[in-house]
């Protein structure tokens, strides 16, 4: 499994893909947080809330771009046959691909810890709430884990990378924000809207990113990742 993972990582960083993805992520976040109007300085509070509100939307575009080629390129160039002859189980192939892409995303998230230290050093008084920020990073990690699983799954459906890209953006957006939008429609149904909202990622992500680690949220994220990867696994059987 780790050899597949390593190969994926090497593939990202031997071409420009990995670097461009990371640079774009950091550039967009940095500009929106510190430079463009309505930034952190105008906000006037020492929190990274705005970063944690913005990052999911950037990841929504970025992660499908990272994962779109993982299986579809193998199908297209025929190298998937070679991969199948290796002494690897299907789960090992899926896991290797998954963790390879997830590591790229984590490498993109890692430099944003600098934001924490820079805001902390500018803060007056008690400074930032460190515990809440750690919680928010855990939330962001799980969000990235779900998006990556969806991206990998989408790319196992098709041999066309662009199709995989579009499918996974749509699926991520539906799961992240779609349920919220539907719950607004059902606002007057007495309680139902709450359950619909609960099905979406945003509900659980917001809950964790306040700094509250709740087993319900963690189980939600982990179970979605497992189910989506098992769908990927089934797609590979058909190949």
């Amino acid at each position: 499994m780790w050899s597949v993972c390593k190969k994926e990582l090497r593939q990202f960083f031997s071409s420009l893909t990995g670097y461009i993805a990371i640079v774009v992520f950091l550039l967009v976040n940095g500009l929106m947080l510190f430079v463009f109007p309505d930034n952190l300085f105008e906000y006037g509070y020492a929190t990274l809330d705005r970063f944690f509100q913005l990052a999911p939307w950037v990841l929504l575009l970025l992660i499908p771009a990272i994962t779109m080629r993982s299986f579809s390129d193998e199908f297209r160039t025929g190298t998937f046959e070679i991969l199948q002859t290796r002494p690897l189980s299907r789960w090992q192939i899926v896991g290797g691909k998954y963790f390879g892409s997830l590591l790229v995303v984590l490498i993109a998230l890692l430099p944003t810890i600098v934001y924490y230290f820079s805001v902390q050093s500018m803060a007056s008084g008690a400074g930032m709430d460190t515990g809440a920020t750690i919680g928010a990073y855990i939330g962001l990690f799980f969000l990235a884990a779900v998006f990556t699983a969806i991206g990998i799954c989408a790319s196992s459906f098709t041999s066309n990378a662009v199709v995989a890209f579009i499918i996974s953006i749509a699926a991520c957006a539906l799961l992240y924000y779609g349920f919220n939008a539907i719950s607004v429609l059902a606002a007057d149904s007495g309680g139902l809207d709450y359950y619909i909202e609960m099905m979406g990622i945003d509900f659980h992500y917001r809950s964790i990113s306040r700094g509250v680690i709740d087993s319900r949220d963690i189980i939600y994220f982990v179970s979605i990742v497992v189910v989506v990867l098992s769908i990927t696994n089934r797609n590979l059987i058909k190949r």
């Binding site: 750690i134 919680g135 309680g191 509250v212 089934r234």
Partner: protein, 102 residues
Amino acid sequence: MLINKMNKKYGWVVPVVLLVLVNVLASFVYVRFDLTSEKRYTLTSGTRSLVKQLDSPVEVDVFLKGEFPSGFRKLANSTADFLQLLKRRERIGNSISFYIST
């Protein structure tokens, strides 16, 4: 043969059903850790017993939405957070409902 065919076609049903089941079960048994420095998102025992004693559903209307200076935006966010917390604590989520409007 038939089972194999069924498995091929409807095999995805099992994980999805498991997904729902696991999450429903998890909603009954849970632990939570409040990492914020002053335990901002944990209800005190006083609030908890107060909520338990409610004998009719409570509706909260909050008029806090729109283009605000940052102080009010922060207030609006934390009001929504707190109401959400109360609602989630209630499990059924029916006895407390809130609307945030302009």
